[in-house]
Structure formats: structure tokens, C-alpha cells
Amino acid sequence: MNEDRVDRRRFIAQGAGTLAAVAIAPEALASVTRLKREISVGVIGCGTQGRAIIDELNSIDGVRISCVADVDGPRLRSGLRRVRGAEGFDSHQALLESAKAQAVFVATGTPDHRPVVVDALAAGVDVYCEAPLAHTVDDALAIAEAARNSGRIFQAGLQGRANPVYQLARTFFRSDSVRDLISLRAQHHKKTSWRASAASEQRRRLLDWRLDPERSAGLCGEWGSHQFDVFHWYTSRYPVRVRGLGSVRFWDDGRTMPDTVSLQMEFDDGAVLSYQATLCNSYGGRYEVLHGSNAAIKLAWSHGWMFKEADAPTQGWEVYANRQQFHNDEGITLIAGATQLAEQGRLKEGVGLPHSSLYYAIEAFLKSVTEGVEVVCDASEGARATIVGIRANDAVRTGRLIEISPSVLRDA
């Protein structure tokens, strides 16, 4: 698991050159992707996430969405409305049998991922699967194994790994700008009932799987796993135990799934990740923070900042920096291609990303399929983040300290 762990001081020696090498040209970031060869894809699941995937695919040159599938009629129609000339199917099996797609995006409810992914890989198509991969450890391991044995390309939809801001911040993190890691913190706050829009009781049962403890790993799994993976990717470490609390604080509509959770995750080196998620308040939104002895890095999907300690050494690149004030703290905006933009006097144009985080994840997958570019997040990494989310949910559900077995993560 820690094979790619970088010795900090060895990395510093490579410092400047490495940073220059990973810097991404701002024009490349802002342009529209044009694939080197055309590809026909399918989207399985036309709920909110499936439709978001369709929106992004529509803006990439060289992709044709040939088919979409959803077991729910209104959602299937909603997906079809967003695509030109695609065929609609009421099951993933029918879509796969049609053999219209060379690759599929799996955006069904999490509990349905396993059969869909296994069938798709068996049908010989490449698969992008939304994260978390599953709501049970068994399903996550089964998906990882199926992907490994299939010989097909599989990407888990953990978007941080394809996000240029996160990639840039990671180079800073691993080049000693943060220095000794002290602690980690993340939150995801959004005011929403988390219920699917459905008038009939039958559709509600089908679509409200996120609130069903038997079919969902709750906030820790559905939201947390994306954020936990950022820390795994940055530190090459996984938590070894987790304790958590959760309750229904606001959405008093008969649900038992907590609408607010709080976690403490402990890593083997003693570092602690504090995590909070709620469906009751949106303040602060979604972000991750890594606190180090020289600086803190804050990541908020389209934006990233570094907050340097007063006694941290100057590294040179700060000359180009764009700064933002946050109450008493001054953040240096992390901008991909900052040096080049600064030379052109266009630094502020680089603040924020020109595409959504999802766009970059989809683009990475399509390049893996059409050009053989290395997969940014394989099934094993996807399964590990999923398992950490599931175990965190177990901690919330039981109120007990839960051990996260390194051997289970190794098996993924």
C-alpha cells in the first residue's frame, strides 16, 4: 500500500524540477478535450449523477453517448432528453446486450453497482464506476477482484485524483512545503433532505436507497469516501481505527439514517483526521485541510490555498502568488500553470478551474480508454476508500471504536 511513499528529503532534492514538470499549461486546462479517436459510450443510471456525467460528456469532442439505461422510467426519459440520438434501455443487461457502447459510466444507486459492474466487465466493456463503489465490504472487494481479472480498464469515480488543483497541491504537499503532517480535517455540509423526488411509494422505496441503512453506508460512505481518498492519496496512508457519532438533528421525517455525523480517524503514525458531515446546514460547504508544521493546505474542489506559517522558509514560487484574505489568515491561491500565467500578467484568470471536477475525472477515463493513459484511480484504490467509508459508518451506527484491518485493505 505504501510502495509509492516518497522519502521527504529525497523529494526535496528533486524539488524545483519536479514542480516544473507537473505544472499544467493554463491553456490546456481551459480547452475542450478532443479525443484522438472517437468512442461510443453508455450511461447506466440517469439520476442526478448520471445526468451530470451526460452533461460533461456532451462537451467532449469525440464521444458519442449511444445508449442510456435506468430501471426508473421517468429518470430514463430525463436522461434521454439530454442526449442526441441515444437509445434508451430499462435495464443495464439490455444496454450491454445491445453492444452499442465500448465503455460505460455506472451511476446507479450504490447498492446496484456490483451486479452492473460485474456484468459490464464480463461483457468486455471498459467501466467508470461512481464512488463509493459499494455499500458493503464484500461488494467492494468483489468489484475490485472483477476489475483486476477482467483485463478491462476500470476507473473509480474518486474525482480528487484527476482534479488539476488537487494534483498541484499534492506536489506541494509531497515536496515538503507542509513539512511534518500534524493533523487532517474535512467537512461536507449541505442543506438537503437527501430524498429522491418521487410521488409514489413504490418509486420512493426504489430511489431513496441512501436513507435505508440496509442499502447505504450513509454520509460516511456516500460523501466521506471521496474525501478520505484525498488523504490516502496525499499521505499514502490509511486510517487504522475510527470512532464516530451521528444522529437525526433536523430531518424529522421518520428516517433512521443520521443526517449529521462526526468522526475521528486515527492513522498508524498518530495523525488524526476529524470529519464532519451534515444534511442540515450548508456553512463552509465541502473541503479538506492538511495541517503541517510549515503550512496548511486547504482544498475545496475547484480551489486550493496554502497558508504558510510565519517561520516557514521562502521557496521562491511565492513571488508569483495570488493571495486571498480569510479573516486573520492570508491564503496563497494554488493555481495550475501559475508561473506561465504570471509572466503573461494573467494570474487571476487561473483562480478556480475552467471545468468541473467531474469533467477532469471523465476526461482521464476516456484518455485511458482511447490513448492508453494510466488510470488515475483504479479499482483497488476505489475499494479501499469505499471500505474506509463503510467502516466509518459502522462506527457511527454502533457507537463503538472500529478497527480498520490493514489486511482487508491489502486484499482490495
Partner: protein, 303 residues
């Protein structure tokens, strides 16, 4: 612009209120019904849709589809989503119907005249004038191309209505039969068995029965043209700010069409405007109002 209903409609039990910030303004949804859980979930889906359309249509969000098109379409044909294509197609129809009074390419001139920041130089104004024309925008096979650099699309005058038309569609699909939704109090859709009353600022009270309304006014943002401060609506044909009318509204079945017609009515009059709505009202510069009512409106009244 228009007053949002208060009182019996939205304070009663069985009313769910949702809101979000998008397209530079505040959207609000008031939904009535017996099942508050359903109202909440359907309303949230509508809010998600408004935010999704914001991500496609906002010219100011760097990661929006419109920003991407504006950045690249003068270099090569840019693939666009069906939503973008549908709205641009509608804009072209509204442009033709209003004889060019409604035009989504007006943005560069508004910027040059300081309606979105600093006033540009005379050369910048001249360059921006040359970029205002729907003839410079090509839409074919799901791709958009500009015929010259500097052209930009800005759906600000119609995007709120487009989003609210979609909201209305979603509410009806889920069986919601009583609702009032607005974007910035200038674009409104209603659903329901009973009329919703809205009052236009400094103007008449209108009853909306399963109808939409768009309101446009020249005040709010201002710019500077030839040394004079003026309102932010520019006539795309003369490329000069509108001065003889100060406010207009349009009532009809489609909010996006009402939005376009209310903007056009500030500079264009005539029965052809009623091809896209039922009723148009205009406040002239002297403060007097004039109205134009179509056949559909008259039939509705007599029924």
C-alpha cells in the same frame, strides 16, 4: 421588480419554501400540497436543476459551458449540450420574432459601456459594436461557432425564464399542482387552480393563473454613454441605450418567452410581440403605462 406573494398562499400549512442563489440572483420556490416530504424532495430536485442550468448558462462562472463557448467558438466549432442548443435556438427565434430587439450577443457592448465594471475606450466601444449580431453566431449539428473574435453570448435576459420553465415542467411531472416560483422577482412561473397576485413595482397588479411573467427594467445597473449615465438595456439595432421606456412586463405560457418579450418591449411595440405571449405592458419614460393584450388573454378573461 414584482412583489412576491405573502399571506394566505405561503404561510398556510402544507407550504414548503426553498431557495437558492444562481444566475446572479435569488430563486425562490413556494410549493403547496398535502405531502410535505414530497414537496421538499421535488423542490430540491428543482433547485438542483436550476444550479445545473446555472453551470451551463452563466457567462461569469469560469467553468460554465457558456464561458467555454465564449472562450473558444471564434477559434473552432465547440460541441454544446442539448440544453445550450435548445436555448440558443430559442434565442434565435425570439431575435427574429422581435425583429432584432432581443439579442443575446449584446454583452460585449454592455461591458464596453461600463455596465459591468469599468467603461472602455472609444476604440473598445467601436470594437464591441462590431461584435453585436446574431448573424455572427452559427449553430449546426450540436456545435456553435462565432464568425469573428470578440463575439460573446450572454443569456442573462432569458436564462432565468428558461430555468423556471424547466422547474414548472418538473413540478407538473411529479404531480405538484399549486406553486409559485420566481428568479430575482423578475421572472415568475405559477401553477395552480387559483390565481397568484403579483404587483409590478409602480405599476398594476396582475393575476397569474397557470401562467408565467417576465419583467424588465432599465434601472439597476447603469453605464456611461457619451458622458451620460444611462440604464443597462441596449437596443441591439441602434446599439444605443433604451430611453423612451423604463419598464415592461409580459405574461404568457412560457417564462423564457416572456423574459425575451419583456426585454424587447422596452424598444419594440406591435402585435407581433403577442405571438410569444398573451399580454404586454410598458411604462414609458413619462410614467404612463400602455398595454397590449392578445386573443388568448381575452379568451381566458371571458372564460
Amino acid at each position: 421588480m414584482a412583489s412576491v406573494p405573502q399571506g394566505e398562499h405561503c404561510d398556510a400549512a402544507g407550504c414548503v419554501r426553498l431557495a437558492c442563489s444562481a444566475m446572479g440572483t435569488r430563486f425562490e420556490l413556494l410549493l403547496h400540497g398535502a405531502d410535505s416530504t414530497l414537496l421538499q424532495s421535488v423542490g430540491e430536485a428543482c433547485v438542483e436543476e436550476i444550479l445545473r442550468l446555472h453551470r451551463i448558462l452563466s457567462p461569469f462562472a469560469r467553468d460554465s459551458e457558456t464561458a467555454r463557448v465564449n472562450r473558444l467558438a471564434h477559434i473552432r466549432a465547440v460541441p454544446v449540450s442539448p440544453d445550450f442548443e435548445a436555448l440558443l435556438g430559442l434565442c434565435r427565434r425570439m431575435h427574429d420574432l422581435t425583429r432584432g430587439a432581443f439579442d443575446p450577443t449584446i454583452g460585449p457592448l454592455m461591458e464596453a459601456w461600463g455596465m459591468r465594471g469599468r467603461t472602455g475606450s472609444a476604440n473598445q466601444v467601436a470594437a464591441a459594436r462590431a461584435c453585436v449580431s446574431m448573424n455572427l453566431v452559427e449553430l449546426e449539428g450540436g456545435r456553435v461557432r462565432f464568425r469573428r473574435a470578440g463575439v460573446r453570448l450572454d443569456f442573462g435576459a432569458i436564462a432565468k425564464g428558461f430555468a423556471l420553465d424547466r422547474v414548472r415542467e418538473m413540478l407538473l411531472e411529479e404531480g405538484i399542482s399549486d406553486a409559485f416560483c420566481h428568479g430575482g422577482r423578475s421572472s415568475i412561473v405559477t401553477i395552480g387552480p387559483r390565481p397568484w397576485r403579483v404587483r409590478i413595482e409602480g405599476g398594476p397588479e396582475i393575476e397569474l393563473l397557470d401562467q408565467a411573467m417576465g419583467v424588465s427594467a432599465i434601472d439597476g445597473r447603469t453605464g456611461e454613454v457619451d458622458g451620460h449615465v444611462c440604464g443597462h438595456i441596449i437596443d441591439p439595432r441602434s446599439r444605443m441605450p433604451v430611453q423612451h421606456a423604463t419598464m415592461a412586463y409580459a405574461v404568457g405560457a412560457s417564462c423564457s418567452r416572456c423574459d425575451a418579450i419583456s426585454t424587447a418591449a422596452l424598444m419594440e411595440s406591435g402585435p407581433h410581440l403577442l405571438d410569444a405571449c398573451d399580454l404586454v405592458g410598458v411604462r414609458r419614460a413619462d410614467g404612463t403605462w400602455s398595454t397590449l393584450a392578445g386573443q388568448a388573454r381575452r379568451q381566458r378573461r371571458t372564460a
